[in-house]
Amino acid sequence: MGRYLRRRLIQLVPLLFGISIVIFGVIQAAPGGPEGSLLAAGRFVDPSVIESYRHRLGVDQPVWRQYLNWLGASARGDLGQSFSTSRPVTAMIGERLPATLELMGAAFLFAALVALPFGLFSALRRYTLADMLGTGLSFLGVAMPVFWFGLLLQLIFSVRLGWLPVSGTGTIGASSVGDHLRHLILPGLVLSTRYIAGWSRYFRSSLIGVSRAGFVRTARAKGLTETRVVGVHTVRNALVPVISVMALNVADLFSGAVITETVFAWPGIGRLFVQGMFARDYPLLMGILLMGAVTVILFNLVADLLYGALDPRIRYE
């Protein structure tokens, strides 16, 4: 296990290297440099002002040197200075990170709490009306455009019924824990929809697959109660692939959070990214992309390790 982990970590080095080149290349390809924000208003700006601005940001150096500067600094945890606010990118990300983690965490937890019991129920009652209804709903959940679902829920629960707040993280002047949680419900639900649909179906088919295995027949044959057969022998084995898919999806949640945060004005990384996009704040965009990529890699690794830890038949060396 230790050796496997070390090998995997070493493999990450070229991967990270490739990712850094792509991210840097994409941002370099941007039409118009950062001085675009100076010129945006259409006013006349003295060329020497632009020159000193470019010099201060370091974008007047050769491309390869800019890349090495950025790479070296990033490796030391310094993602540079934002073009739009002149503050360190790490600080800006750090401020928004808790909100995004909270949203992703709520969505993940909610999806797991709904999807797993529901998957078990469908597998035990397979081909019944309820199971087929579940299949239909999960198709709906996968096809549902996140932003539209968000708008619909706002329309129904906030505008028409007035039960829940439309957007934001708290009511100004009346913020409390309860109020904050009420703000979390709709975005959390929207972000979790796709995963409720996906995980419940996946758990269902995994359960059905395992229930045909020899050891389940053996468990039944030796007279174990149905509860033990399902609860101990079937569920535990069927959970293994589901858990690793759940770990993989954590990285996906990040992309979903970009849209969800925009719809619900949730002050997280996703919104920061969209704002940075319109402000042409390259260091900020690079920082967020890099952070997102590292998260993806990390959870891929976690998924693989979990798989090995949960299933004794899989041994890494």
Binding site: P14, L15, G18, I19, V22, I23, V26, I27, A29, A30, P31, R126, F139, L140, V142, A143, M144, P145, V146, F147, W148, L151, L152, Q154, L155, V159, S205, I208, G209, A251, F254, S255, G256, V258, I259, T262, V263, F273, V274, M277, L285, I288, L289, G292, A293, T295, V296, I297, N300
Partner: protein, 263 residues
Amino acid sequence: MPSLIIFGAIVVACLAAPLVAPHAMDAIDLAAVKQAPSRLHWMGTDDLGRDVLSRLLFGGRISIVIGLLAAVAGTTLGAVVGAVAAFYGRAVDNVLMRITDVAYAIPSLPLLIILSAYSRAAIVSMVLIIGGLSWMATARVVRAEVLTIREMPFVEAARVLGAGSGVTILRHVLPNAMGSLIVGATLGVGNAILIESSLSFLGLGVQPPTATWGNMLMDAQSTMAAKPWLTIFPGGAILLVILAVNFIGDGLRDALDPQKDPA
């Protein structure tokens, strides 16, 4: 089968939009702004008095065309990368698969947002961007299939008969991986439509006044409470099309994959 009919009907209606739409796409009728659905305007009108149903049909042409072309582009690229990697093996395989890993690891939506903001959102560039970022899954699946296919006797036979690598891949290897390619491409259509509408919704897709389902929703967001029909219909159209395409893809998978678990 019903999903095929629904999808076909929507595609035909959208492609024939100039013929079937009750009003012109950008006909502004200031005497009829913000009207709820009625006999004259089945899905109501927007802030400028434009007929929502007509805009939906014209917008659908763009959304569907982008979806179809992007899925074809992504699947083709994925098939080529996967087949070449598996067929040549060794260093080629290694390099291509590491590139695939890199492409997989960068969160795609943020990257799409950046790229579409550069491209000023023409249809062709949307197709290339979405297709160019959705080939990785296909590449991995095709690679896995080709690894087994290339060991088959008929591939050996083709090589013995003097077929070059290109001919062998195109004529003998890829046709045998066609099942998963078709399924992947079908599911890719829904995904591409979803991405296109998300980008339009953020204001980064095809720009108004040209209608797409996503930018109609963006326009509707601020006035959602007073005029819900502006939000409900475009989103419903997106949902319906993606649902239909996914059902088709699922049916194809059942039909084409003999090893599929009957559950």
